[in-house]
Assembly symmetry: D2
Homo-oligomer: 288 residues x 4
Amino acid sequence: MAKNAYDLILKVSCPDSPGLVSKIANYIASHNANLIEFTQFADSVNRKFFSRLEIDTSESKVSVDELKEGFSVLGKSIQANWHFRQLPHKTKTAILVTKTSHCLNEILWRTQEGELPIEITSVIGNREDCRELVERAGLVFHYVDFKEQGKQDAFNEISSILNAEEVNLVVLARFMQIMPEALCSQYEGRMINIHHSFLPAFIGANPYRQAYNRGVKLIGATCHYVTSDLDAGPIIEQQVHRVNHFHSVHDLTRMGRDCERAALAKGIRYHVYDRTIIDGRRAIVFSD
Amino acid sequence: MAKNAYDLILKVSCPDSPGLVSKIANYIASHNANLIEFTQFADSVNRKFFSRLEIDTSESKVSVDELKEGFSVLGKSIQANWHFRQLPHKTKTAILVTKTSHCLNEILWRTQEGELPIEITSVIGNREDCRELVERAGLVFHYVDFKEQGKQDAFNEISSILNAEEVNLVVLARFMQIMPEALCSQYEGRMINIHHSFLPAFIGANPYRQAYNRGVKLIGATCHYVTSDLDAGPIIEQQVHRVNHFHSVHDLTRMGRDCERAALAKGIRYHVYDRTIIDGRRAIVFSD
Amino acid sequence: MAKNAYDLILKVSCPDSPGLVSKIANYIASHNANLIEFTQFADSVNRKFFSRLEIDTSESKVSVDELKEGFSVLGKSIQANWHFRQLPHKTKTAILVTKTSHCLNEILWRTQEGELPIEITSVIGNREDCRELVERAGLVFHYVDFKEQGKQDAFNEISSILNAEEVNLVVLARFMQIMPEALCSQYEGRMINIHHSFLPAFIGANPYRQAYNRGVKLIGATCHYVTSDLDAGPIIEQQVHRVNHFHSVHDLTRMGRDCERAALAKGIRYHVYDRTIIDGRRAIVFSD
Amino acid sequence: MAKNAYDLILKVSCPDSPGLVSKIANYIASHNANLIEFTQFADSVNRKFFSRLEIDTSESKVSVDELKEGFSVLGKSIQANWHFRQLPHKTKTAILVTKTSHCLNEILWRTQEGELPIEITSVIGNREDCRELVERAGLVFHYVDFKEQGKQDAFNEISSILNAEEVNLVVLARFMQIMPEALCSQYEGRMINIHHSFLPAFIGANPYRQAYNRGVKLIGATCHYVTSDLDAGPIIEQQVHRVNHFHSVHDLTRMGRDCERAALAKGIRYHVYDRTIIDGRRAIVFSD
């Protein structure tokens, strides 16, 4: 894809029925917009239809707003959920961290590099460890003290920050606290976690220790949407790394960091480029 | 994909222009056929459009022949090359071998398993080594003697066999002779080779020896369409395997066999499921 | 490794202590044998020492028997378990199957190819499906009827066959019955299974269905030693394959077969080349 | 490996002969030092022996200096090249860059994280692009102006900096100038480059463009020692990434960055942990 070849993304999911590609493509063509890429998936088992369109409106005679609003007639007739995203767009994103900085550093670097179209509103930590890295990058770091004020108040504080900054995406970049149900609900489909194991193996604490004890030959990391069901949210991306008997838990942790960085970066990328559609416990990911 | 969800494949390539998805999808919808999968790629640099459609005609009111013939009006108007494939279909395939049997065995197994919809018309060898494996599988083995009759007559004999068997696909499964230009032309886009290196590295003879001497850390295999430009045809699939200093040329050869089997099997699969479109020196591969 | 560079393999495991490499290497050197490869692993957490030696005795003045017997003095003094293997050697191996043939075919092919130094004493099936493949390869197929005679008698029959054939290795090549404890004990460290998931994820039935439902992005297969603790034996090898939302359970099953074949073939290879040492729930694997 | 389990590394390469493991291990044992890990490779084709030892001298009665000096007797008798490295050790390292910062950022991060035991003496750039990143990290950035003073004087300036800082390792982190022969000689075996292709494919300029034009299905990056023979030095590490027809040159460049970062980080790691031995055009890499 050449850069800026498209300026509008449309995601559509609906019950499957004949003629959907034709109907949606016609709508775009009838507004003189140019369909650059049409990706589609028909789940024949559950009879659902999912699609993602990259559209170039630069030669369209109608405004983008008209294009978006006009879709509601078709959208309703096919019982669709749909979502337009006009480009360029930067998703307002808060990053939550605890102690380790590798995932945070990866996101900062890719954002600077222009790979991730996000605006980092702030980084929130329940420890001070990452402050220096954040402030060096010219960003705001909020320290939230879980010990002093207790878990509930701490999460209230986090919630206030997120609300005040009007974030649209929350990234848990090795944040070692379990998110309360209220936040999971509020940011449903907009909160991404990186779990340091190849889920569903080694749910819970110390996955690298568990992996070592079990003698697995591959370790991994899983990027997923957060739901109130711990470590069971829809998986966006997974990465693995081959290991051997001579690797200690310390080695697994070190090599696992590379999996975590890669999986989280890809997961965020797919989300902010509107390449994901959540379908119950699974995520449809139109990966690139 | 549920099995048999579609009974017709359409491949279309043409100059890119607005509205192509809409036009093609409309054609299908207007014939009451159901579009199961629409995969498309717009090459914005060269302004070309490539697409592949899986179509279910079971509830269409017009016959498949009408559907196919009727497409010519649209096809001409968009200056397309197009190709319909009605399912179920088994591609008539000849396999050429020399001494080693691993690629041949892989194809035989996957064919028996139902993974490759091909009909093996015969196996042709310039040595007798693979005869037993072929005949055990209940297939015909032709021995073509290159030494006695010379290269030209030998290739004439091969050509006669291919013509007589009306093959639509020629697979060079580690066939250690350079194909003459006439055969390359006749089977253009229908002759697949497996090269035992990660092309374009190590063109020519003894790639594993070359790889050993160069001290590479990954070896590979490349499945490609055969053109008269040796080892330079469009690449369909590549596989790699990690190696180390302690691996001898013998080890590289052994491990490389696994790459060769996997790459060739995938390459054939993509071809016979009409997932490839040749575009000059490159192959568009709608992989699954 | 050049072929036949060594004719003796020695595996040693013992409590770790200073000077072990020196002591063992001295023993070999003092018998005029040439140490080709010395691989060693010191588990500093559990203070254990594991090693594997490839030895060339062709210029040794003492006989191999003397070399083997003489080791007992050193072996006892370092409290070692040790094992000599004289080459060439073919491990007597029985293969147990049910319906699917892909793992069996892989073993047959690699054995014919000379990659696996095993002698297949027979193939035992609780269904007739694989008989043709086995008999074509010139091998004996035993059908054991589980339905008619019941599970206990069927396993007694299998046990009798294994005893009569004096097998040293039992390979469960997608054998869909749970092995009774008595057989697990008798063939402890000599019975290898291929599990069609990336253990410890998806223990139990229908792992590909489970993987599909969970929406994982990588599927896998695990080759492990069989213990009476189902699917929890020491892991020898694991393989993974990337999958996507558009892959059905049928697709996962197909792609998983490639993981199963590769993982099982490597697992058997490591075992018969004496590259594995079981250490509780883990396997030390000196992979090549 | 538990951290700090060893405090001395010994690398030995010499002509192969019987008893080498025994002789070397005896030397260590006779000085009451504890051999933690003995890795060895006998190249049977060229009759060479390579080994790397991790040694714990904490309970040795002789000093490390005595241990090192005393080895010369054995070393000479087996015609060895050998090298001791006492730990902890930080290799004095200069990093050369041009415009892109991804490789530099990766090294900075891993150094801060404690993964790479190096002391970055300075970063030298022939453009100013990376200055900010370097200075933020509290390091010195030298800008060397190639345009104004010409290539020869510019390299003289670089040489002066390297000499003044007494660097032991030069890392070309996407430095887009060809190193002159004098510097290649001076830092032979101590200068590491990252090449943005899967060598030996796509030598020279614009490898991602070349890869795109050739339609390869995997791109890669190669970390190698620099020799005066451009892009032909001994390979330390290679990484690959799967690509598809829909990836533009821009996409290949983006995905290639991940290969480059990973391959360079591993390559430096292997070098500074004394895991590499150069053997002509190849590198023996005792990877972990």
